[in-house]
């Protein structure tokens, strides 16, 4: 194994072959030299890295429940502050909370909101695989329109998930967080740069990272980087950051590819290519174009 990359998270965990979650964790944790404490919501990352009697974590790690990664992180960080004030801890310690989209958009939203609003010095990283993949692929607030999920199956009566993703970036931005960014596991340098910035931020910071899921998006295990890149190249997943309220576009896609290029790589969207679902793809494309225009308005590029 690679010694440098596995300093904080070792192999031997059971993420699916070709899953990018460990790459996200390693890149984020590798962006600081200080000792880190990891707080984890229930989800793929938690169940795969903590198979009893083994733990893949080489750094202090705490998992509490699905809904309270934000609250647990707040408590750990507050205790650290007290101990530091009393002189019992001398080191500068960084706190990182990892949650999936279920633990962030839906179940953990309240605890996350509290953590952000109280201003704890925590970096919250949401790896977004757009559903509850650890339990077989139920839809979440992050599932895009048209996806065939376990709880929104496609068929004669339905084209799959009826609604579009919740805009979690806007929700977090509404807490006046000093730094938050949307990144993608396929753009690892972009993620590393953003993680470094987030660690240097005073107060809470937030990263939303797209994580293609080989198992439920249904594509070959070798494709996570390719599909991640397509998500950004079609403007399905733009890369941007919000620093002190100012929007910055990190990658301006001059000629975006049609959304079909992204959809056809995954079997969760296979049914959309049937003749009766032509309109659904058009609606998806329209939504993407609208959101892209809104983002361009917010960034200074246009």
């Amino acid at each position: 194994m690679n010694k440098k990359l596995t300093e904080k998270l070792a192999p031997g965990h059971s993420t699916c072959a070709g899953c990018g979650i460990p790459s996200i964790v390693r890149t984020v944790l590798g962006a600081t030299e200080d000792p880190v404490v990891v707080i984890n919501a229930t989800g793929c990352l938690e169940v795969t890295t903590t198979l009893h009697p083994y733990s893949a974590w080489k750094v202090p790690y705490i998992h509490n429940a699905f809904e309270n990664a934000g609250a647990t992180a707040s408590g750990v960080e507050a205790a650290y502050k007290v101990l530091k004030r009393k002189g019992l801890i001398k080191k500068n310690v960084k706190f990182v909370a990892f949650g999936g989209d279920g633990g962030t958009y839906d179940i953990g939203l309240q605890a996350l909101s509290g953590m952000l609003e109280r201003g704890h010095q925590v970096l919250y990283v949401a790896y977004d695989n757009q559903g509850y993949m650890n339990t077989g692929g139920q839809r979440s607030g992050a599932t895009p329109m048209g996806a065939n999920m376990e709880t929104t199956p496609s068929g004669k009566e339905s084209f799959g998930n009826q609604t579009d993703r919740k805009d979690i970036m806007q929700i977090v931005a509404a807490h006046h967080v000093k730094y938050l960014a949307q990144s993608n596991v396929a753009y690892i340098e972009d993620l590393a740069k953003k993680a470094k910035k987030a660690f240097e931020t005073e107060g809470p910071s937030f990263l939303l990272v797209l994580q293609p899921c080989t198992n439920v998006w249904k594509y070959p295990t070798s494709q996570y980087v390719r599909i991640g890149k397509l998500a950004t190249e079609t403007n399905f997943w733009p890369l941007f950051e919000i620093e002190n309220g100012k929007y910055v576009l990190n990658l301006d896609i001059k000629k975006p590819k049609p959304i079909e290029d992204f959809l056809q790589t995954q079997k969760r969207f296979k049914h959309l290519f049937a003749p009766e679902n032509v309109e659904v793809i058009k609606t998806i494309q329209k939504n993407i174009d609208r959101k892209w225009k809104e983002l361009l308005k917010k960034t200074s590029n246009k």
């Binding site: 194994m1 690679n2 010694k3 990359l5 596995t6 998270l9 070792a10 192999p11 031997g12 965990h13 059971s14 993420t15 072959a17 070709g18 899953c19 990018g20 979650i21 460990p22 790459s23 390693r26 903590t50 198979l51 009893h52 009697p53 083994y54 733990s55 893949a56 974590w57 080489k58 690892i188 080989t214 070959p220 295990t221 070798s222 494709q223 996570y224 980087v225 390719r226």
Partner: protein, 92 residues
């Protein structure tokens, strides 16, 4: 009280790790003549099992990708992402 007994903590011990190498049905083979040691595979390998080793042959490149088969799950990301097509997936 013994510090290690507070709560239910587990220490990292690699010897207890499941050897995920036995998940593989295809294995990545690095072509020594094509590998330039650029490190793209290292960057994207989800298991972080690829190292760049110093070459001992007379190639003009200094490094060569070496894959740890104990933990490689055989996903094939390295083979797809290699810009020089120096990694091929072979049947186990």
């Amino acid at each position: 009280m013994n510090k290690k007994l507070v709560g239910a903590t587990i220490e990292h011990d690699l010897s207890k790790a499941p050897k995920t190498g036995n998940w593989r049905n295809v294995r990545p083979e690095v072509d020594k003549d094509k590998c330039t040691g650029c490190g793209t595979c290292v960057k994207y390998c989800p298991e972080a099992v690829i190292n760049l080793r110093e070459r001992r042959d007379d190639s003009k490149f200094k490094k060569l990708a070496k894959i740890d088969m104990d933990f490689c799950k055989g996903c094939g990301v390295c083979a797809v992402e290699c810009p020089f097509k120096a990694i091929k997936m072979e049947k186990e």
